[in-house]
Symmetry: none
Subunit: 192 residues, 4 copies
Amino acid sequence: MSDTKDTILACARDQYLSDGYKGLSMRKIADKAGISATAIYRHFSNKEELFHRLVKKGFGTYTYYLTPALEEETAELRFKKTMEYALDFILEQPKYFELIFVKSETKDELANFDDLRVDSKISFDFYTDRINECIAEGYLKDDNASEVSVLLLASYTGFFALYTAGLLPRSKKEIRALYWRTVERIMVGVIA
Amino acid sequence: MSDTKDTILACARDQYLSDGYKGLSMRKIADKAGISATAIYRHFSNKEELFHRLVKKGFGTYTYYLTPALEEETAELRFKKTMEYALDFILEQPKYFELIFVKSETKDELANFDDLRVDSKISFDFYTDRINECIAEGYLKDDNASEVSVLLLASYTGFFALYTAGLLPRSKKEIRALYWRTVERIMVGVIA
Amino acid sequence: MSDTKDTILACARDQYLSDGYKGLSMRKIADKAGISATAIYRHFSNKEELFHRLVKKGFGTYTYYLTPALEEETAELRFKKTMEYALDFILEQPKYFELIFVKSETKDELANFDDLRVDSKISFDFYTDRINECIAEGYLKDDNASEVSVLLLASYTGFFALYTAGLLPRSKKEIRALYWRTVERIMVGVIA
Amino acid sequence: MSDTKDTILACARDQYLSDGYKGLSMRKIADKAGISATAIYRHFSNKEELFHRLVKKGFGTYTYYLTPALEEETAELRFKKTMEYALDFILEQPKYFELIFVKSETKDELANFDDLRVDSKISFDFYTDRINECIAEGYLKDDNASEVSVLLLASYTGFFALYTAGLLPRSKKEIRALYWRTVERIMVGVIA
DNA sequence: TATGAATGAGTATTCATTCAT
DNA sequence: GATGAATGAATACTCATTCAT
């Protein structure tokens, strides 16, 4: 709705992107947004809420990356596109990824906000749904879809952690290739 | 030798455990240790060094958990024990795990300390060594050991992330069981 | 406009006056101004800037003392009034004098601020201009005006140093008399 | 007597030389001297005394520079050599000069130490003595020797202040030449 | 809607100094 | 003579937040 509100959120995201959590100060955000620090309080009741909205937006972006996968024709294709778009998200929005999947600040700070746990669950369920589809379609073997989701999401999340830790190649080309080889190794155990 | 130095480090660890990175303030650590804030500087030249030592200790603890696996007789057993002890580390020292594998603060703050990157590498190589052994022994099929390490470590790290994100069951019994089932699913693709 | 800003500056000046450079702490200034230490940062971005403004004000005050000399009719009178007002400045604003002419802290701390070097130069040139006028008018003999300035300013500055060092009489009456006798002795060498 | 005591003093001098007054911290001095900070207190009861000894040494060095002038045959030569050696002192020991003649910290900090005022007086009297000699010898005209000292010392001190303020040429050759021309201009008024 | 002024608590760090050994 | 450990007070500065306008 409010233009300024979005601006603030965008600046908060950029600030987090460039300086990490400790760069997320009301003043710095305000400076970046070209308004006074106090003005933020017109739009968010406090830093906690602002951060909450930021994480919300992170989840939204993630969903925005994944949903196009639903347009594919077969369950198998939807699944594979999901894996691909998830990789895109990692590589293009690493800070958002970190914000919503990795950071414990997020968890501690936002323990009160139940809706975020719901968002978490939704992202998780997106995988489970894809896998259930694939089982139904016969592409994946009959297994506990939720646990296969755990496997895939865990690999995915951890892959990113190793990537940012500098233990994996930095070039996007190489990392993409390694990602797919890793996925393939996993798929051996779950493909029908 | 220096008792206080260890106390400080222990308190820093506890502080990090309870309040995360932003709880790691010199004063809070000092308070917990029952000394004055300035006394810390007798033992660590600044916060950076203190944090560095803390991460170092994290790596040390991790190694301490894994190395007993080397006492097993066969490569297969050494590998399996490694997986088991790694799980123990996650469950018993979750904050240390986070400190050394996940946190991006760690990375930014300690970018200068090359030795930590070496420690990272060593932890990684421990897996690669186990896998190479298993390939040699015929337990795992002939594959790129380093990439199989990536797969295993990524799953392991990500599994933890999901766990702390509250997406996995909290009971230790259940989480252990789920861990092993996840490992098994992965192993299908790599076992000979 | 900003009242507080001026108050802060005045208190900083007083603080410097009573405790010297090391008395110039943000907290002490704030205490004296009756505001919180942090409030200062609303008006000055940091101590360096505050100090810079202070020195600026010192130069301004100096100029404020000297410029009325320009209203005199002849070059000789303008010169003599300059000498007189300069003495007034020494006796009435000794700390400002010290701040702008003597202190090496000033130099180190404010090395970046080129405008201060300009201010220095302007004060210096004020003398040179007076002397050039006097040479033109025939009151002073034809000499290198800039070097005569050096002579006069050096004597003037040094006279003050001896004064604050307690090597000269403390009574204003006596010091004034001695000042003029010293000036006269110098003038012998430069008067036409 | 004590070797360490001298080392400490020398390091304090160097520290002051490189970092100015605020560089004069007990720890930094101790570090430079290769001893513990506490060890200093074996030799000086506190910082004030240490600083006092330092200023004392500054006066000693000044005297050390000037006294060879006494070896000259005539009063005129002794006077001229005094002027020359004083210039050497400025150019070779600028920080010592500042320490004993310019700095108000010195004065504030050491207000209690009467002996320093005596040292000040001695330096001053050295000039007065030279001038009295010159008057007796007929080189200088009959004048108030003490006031001529004021004139000379003031010019001398101020000349240095302008020099360090960057208002005079930085090259030693030029500054020497300018010094002598300035002295000559002054001498016109006092030579017989 | 927005701002400027202000605040109190908090940050890391440095300081001179003391004390027990 | 010297040290290591410790301290309390001080340093400049940042933070989220409030309030009056």
